[in-house]
Symmetry: C2
Subunit: 410 residues, 2 copies
């Protein structure tokens, strides 16, 4: 439903949030600069800044004695205002991190996990790590601002319930309730790709960016759509299933788990790369990959292929390039549809980004409409495979940036 402005308190909250986001996005910044940017009166800005200083959300840090006139007092975020806990539930692992308010990691742990085995077991394993995280954070002598949880699947973000995650085979899991009862923290739950998109907007490579798409490349290919300056979730929160669009490729398509043939994600997910390598190795044996597999004593994986590519292995490099071309074809379609400012690629596959990106860009340029293609920047997430973990952090920070006075109650 549409949001209506009601009383003056909401106006205050809105402007407080605008000023805080401005300081967050373009630090350091002075009161006078912000008055210019926002159109708000100088004295109003001063009053809002006073509030934020009182709440310890921001700091006065030095002064800018640039041109003539009185030097400006510069303002920045206060990273120490409190800690945030982020949890990423992956398809075969759990990651937990503790960060300051700016997303700087203070503590982290990652464990393998198997969601198909037992749901309660995996949740308890996660809760165990979270409790360690809290113990580590408590040494910092500050408070926790909240806990964010990113998970594949559809999420009812208001209730904090995972509605349906096909990859985990989970339905209706009340993460919000479970984690807030166990930690006594405010808990936010969000889809992994959506969360990662918010992380890029707040901490990453899409700051200031109103229109971009985060592409989560891993077991499947998912998307976080950040449009008109906010996340787009669709009618029921399913928006962003970009991996099941067809691409133009040779007719011998494998059947996607969605039942169709030709889906983009069947050509460019991590298994497709592994299969491609395996097929190549059966024909040709000049690769160093078999040796690496033996050394690691583990099945073929993206990190191993990456290591081979780093050593100059042709098979590895070519396979990544093939996947990059498939990815580029899918992206070209998205670019035509969205005319985005940026495409940001993250997730497990992005550790091989340096090998994928040239192929991606080349294919995008060939298939997207030239007028639109010239406007878009295709980038790798600075968080790589941790994009959703940082996303879990980001959804907590984002809530505070939206409602600055809410932290009074914490």
């Amino acid at each position: 439903m549409t949001k209506y402005i009601t009383d003056q308190a909401l106006v205050r909250e809105f402007n407080l949030s605008s000023v805080l986001r401005l300081i967050h996005a373009q630090p350091p910044i002075s009161r006078a600069q912000m008055a210019g940017i926002t159109g708000l009166n100088k004295s109003t800005i001063s009053s809002l800044v006073d509030d934020l200083l009182t709440q310890n959300l921001i700091l006065e840090t030095g002064s800018n004695t640039g041109g003539g006139g009185r030097p400006a007092t510069l303002l920045e975020m206060n990273p120490q205002v409190g800690l945030i806990i982020g949890v990423e539930l992956g398809v075969d692992f759990v990651s937990v991190a503790v960060t300051d308010f700016l997303g700087n990691i203070i503590w982290r742990r990652r464990e393998d996990a198997d969601p198909t085995e037992d749901q309660d077991k995996m949740i308890n394993q996660t809760l165990g790590i979270v409790k360690e995280a809290m113990a580590a954070g408590k040494k910092k002598n500050t408070r926790f601002l909240g806990l964010g949880l990113a998970t594949p699947g559809t999420v009812d973000i208001k209730e904090g319930v995972l509605i349906f995650a096909p990859n985990l085979h989970w339905r209706n899991v009340p993460f919000g309730k479970i984690f807030s009862e166990q930690t006594r923290l405010r808990v936010f739950v969000e889809n992994d790709a959506n969360a990662a998109a918010i992380a890029e907007h707040l901490f990453g490579t899409a700051r200031q960016c109103q229109d971009f798409i985060f592409v989560f490349a891993g077991v499947g290919i998912g998307g976080g759509l950040f449009l008109n300056g906010k996340l787009y979730r669709g009618k029921n929160g399913y928006a962003g299933e970009i991996g099941h669009s067809p691409i133009m490729a040779e007719p011998s398509q494998t059947v996607c788990h969605c039942g169709n043939r030709g889906c983009w994600e069947t050509y460019a997910n991590q298994y497709s790369i592994i299969q491609r390598i395996q097929a190549r190795l059966e024909v040709k044996r000049t690769s160093i990959i078999p040796k690496l597999i033996a050394e690691h004593n583990s099945p073929l994986s993206i990190p191993i292929i990456k290591q081979a590519a780093d050593a100059g292995d042709r098979e590895a490099i070519d396979s990544f390039a093939e996947a990059g071309h498939a990815m580029g074809q899918g992206l070209a379609g998205l670019i035509n549809i969205f005319n985005p400012e940026k495409i940001v690629i993250g997730g497990p596959l992005s550790i091989a980004g340096e090998y994928l990106l040239p192929a991606i860009k080349e294919t995008v340029a060939r298939h997207a409409l030239p007028e639109i293609d010239q406007q878009v920047e295709v980038l790798l997430s600075p968080f790589g495979p941790d994009a959703s973990l940082l996303g879990a952090i980001a959804i907590v920070a984002d809530d505070i940036l939206s409602h600055p006075s809410s932290i009074e109650g914490i």
Copy 2:
């Protein structure tokens, strides 16, 4: 850039707009009901409604003596507040309409035109029709609220300039300047599919709908993306080029004018249907279409094929179904990406909607992810081939709904 709330006048304007849109969307409605819906105080609503009554934007119409208690005074839009002129520049025609504030058509005219011949000539032809429209409107003894112009291509809506229209081969045409100088009216310019989407939201089948996609099917296939309750234009206004996504089809693809093979729009635009019919007629001659072509003494066209289908002609019906299947494949991809509430199909091709829609729905159901497909409604625009003409009207009405006090100056 982000919109900042500044002074109380903006809050007033915002709430005035909220109340006006509510009356527009759910008439008739009482002050008390609106207080409930918006959360604004009863007395605030009364004050806002007084303003709108003074401006003649709304009317008190009867009272609702339903349950116990004092009967409510019901409010509706005042269609007579002023007239709107809409102009659609098509690839081979010009349409002009005069409507009241609710989009009811009072006068209209459509003429064939050839944009490739001479740009000035086509603009003068259009201006001529607009002047007739104004003469017709002046008899109604009311004012004009503005003129809207819908055109294929990319538009700088702030400056009212058509940046680039590949189908017309036009670049940098300052429609806003030209038409406001010639008519002395406020002029709004918008892309045809975007305008049509706004028409669906205000007057058509997507009222109240926050997330829907308008599909303009004609010479090409374009999209108007209405997301999170507002139009999404992308970084440079190119968003909505949905027709160049590939679909899964037999490998013998024709080359699209964009240079790629396999584009959705090459399988489902109006020429593709005409070609399909021609190919069938060369093989088989039991169709009534050759007879109809002779009767009309004009080349094969969608209306003729439609007429044949109405008469039960197999070739016509089957060709529409084939196009519908292609359309359904393209829509399935969009549905996965957007999880929209509705898909609304309009434009020239939609006159054959009754023959296309069953095939579209069947194919969508087969190719979209079931979870998402169950949420979407695929509909025909009630305005059919006039969707963009009504769109031109709608962008004027929408501006007034957004800024109710702006009409004081008209």
